[in-house]
Symmetry: C2
Subunit: 324 residues, 2 copies
Amino acid sequence: MAPTIKDVAKYAGVGLGTVSRVLNNGASVNPEKRKKVLEAVKALNFTPNRMASKLRKNETRNIALLVPVINHPFFAEFAYFVEDEADKFGYSVILVSSQQRVEKEADIIKRIRRREVDGAVFVTHFAHKESELKDCPIVSIDRIFGDEIPYVTTDNYAATEKAIEYLAAKGCKKIGYIGSKPLVRSEVSERERAYTDEMEKTGGEKRIVNEVIMHGGEQAVAEKFFDLYPDTDGVFVSGYTMAKSFLTAARERGKKIPEDIQLISYDGAFVQWNYSEVLTSVEQPIEKMARKVIDMLVKKIHGEEVEKRVEFPTEFVLGDTTLK
Amino acid sequence: MAPTIKDVAKYAGVGLGTVSRVLNNGASVNPEKRKKVLEAVKALNFTPNRMASKLRKNETRNIALLVPVINHPFFAEFAYFVEDEADKFGYSVILVSSQQRVEKEADIIKRIRRREVDGAVFVTHFAHKESELKDCPIVSIDRIFGDEIPYVTTDNYAATEKAIEYLAAKGCKKIGYIGSKPLVRSEVSERERAYTDEMEKTGGEKRIVNEVIMHGGEQAVAEKFFDLYPDTDGVFVSGYTMAKSFLTAARERGKKIPEDIQLISYDGAFVQWNYSEVLTSVEQPIEKMARKVIDMLVKKIHGEEVEKRVEFPTEFVLGDTTLK
DNA sequence: CTGAAAGCGCTTACAG
DNA sequence: CTGAAAGCGCTTACAG
């Protein structure tokens, strides 16, 4: 059996509390005894059992990161910084790919209740009863759960507006919108609103395909868009995966990018997915968002007050899918 | 305060043990009492505190996944299946990006000792004293730690041999090798060995750049290769990131792929990184490897015997970076 | 089948 | 400054 604090105390000839004090906060302890404890720790090769202290202190020092899938560039990038930031606060990150299964999302709530994690970051699509979420330390991205759950988002409306205007300025007359409709209230909806407003302002025909898309379903949606609006000359798409699917569909139809169709994506340029081409896109500051989300979550876990909504500006990245 | 099992027992008018039995293994319990307990659980909205049962049972049901960085397609894909498989066994995955910092790697060992996790999957590069790893449930990918640590790998030698022969068959006369030299004993070294053997067999000049590469350092290595061997007409590179860097360097030099230089990568086709081109590559069965690693780790955690070495066959994927 | 009790390995008031 | 004790919330032999 691994030695316990009890063994250390006995070996050092002191009380349990003294060992604990030496090991932890460094509360004032007689230097002599401190030395003895340290010697005992070394002699016995003692490592404290964190399960015990966690139970005692009622904190797990774990947080859950819930993403739809981790093997997607945006979420992988996000996870990278989430882990890095959480580590700074002494938290470990439990990774959960919801795979958009509602049970797996709901399971996170249970994990908080069961004290497996202290809180969670939600990057998801499904709905939950808000009552369930009450007093669960959760911070989300984009998604609006209600007053209880703070979230981090980007300037979805302004960025989309700018992107659409850019396409128009580059000569696009028939601009389309392909989005992934969120199943819950989400700031992502602002993108479609901006597009719609812009079309109404300029009198452009609305060419919208905005569906509930499961990961892997992007290709079918892109196909559908082409079936509905074959003569489109500019398109705004929501994200890297959709952009990729759209470009594939365009290629199959012999459409050249950007000569025949120009494309702007919400996110995706950072992937540098292609050694010769980069998406023109609205880039979200992933690192900042990830670090902020963790800072907020840690505060929430400690019962501190946090902002209800934090918005970061995006950056417009000129790539190769629009005309120069 | 959240209700405890004690509150449930009192409410149901039974003993603590009975509540525990009802909640867990379903050991035989009087149906009447069972019903009462269940009612009490519902009435009090009771959720068992897993910290307590973990301490009692001395199992965390957590495993650590150590990768160099999660925001890299191979590791993200690997992590996806690791999480999925671990979940089947009732384990949560703690994600750690080592960032190739040796301390962060060593920290995993500590986490096992501290009983924060039951075991770990290592996909890493640094060396550790083997004594440290003794009786730590760890399974690794590619890397050879010694008899204590089992690992999963691929047919590195045979696959590389085949790739080099393919390049030769497609007309390459000056074939190079760009690798990331592992800092530890690793099956990855078999790739260079296969290349070297093949050159000696065919009398080809050895054109090798095999360095310790930190993530982000691939570009400099690709540049170096071109400086040393500008007239290369075929190259084998270790992995997606190196392939990307090499292709970028080639483009900067006005070299056409595959007309001027053909390229085969160890892994990377799965990324489908480009809507129009795919890497010719040796693909590792990531899903199978991930699931196998978890199966082995779970067995190891339970003290069962596991294979010391498991090799999976790779698949040669014909893409666009070699001639048809 | 079941209740009372011991114990998992810590931390933290408490009294000294 | 420090030791003995209580307790975190469970599980599991144990005796009945």
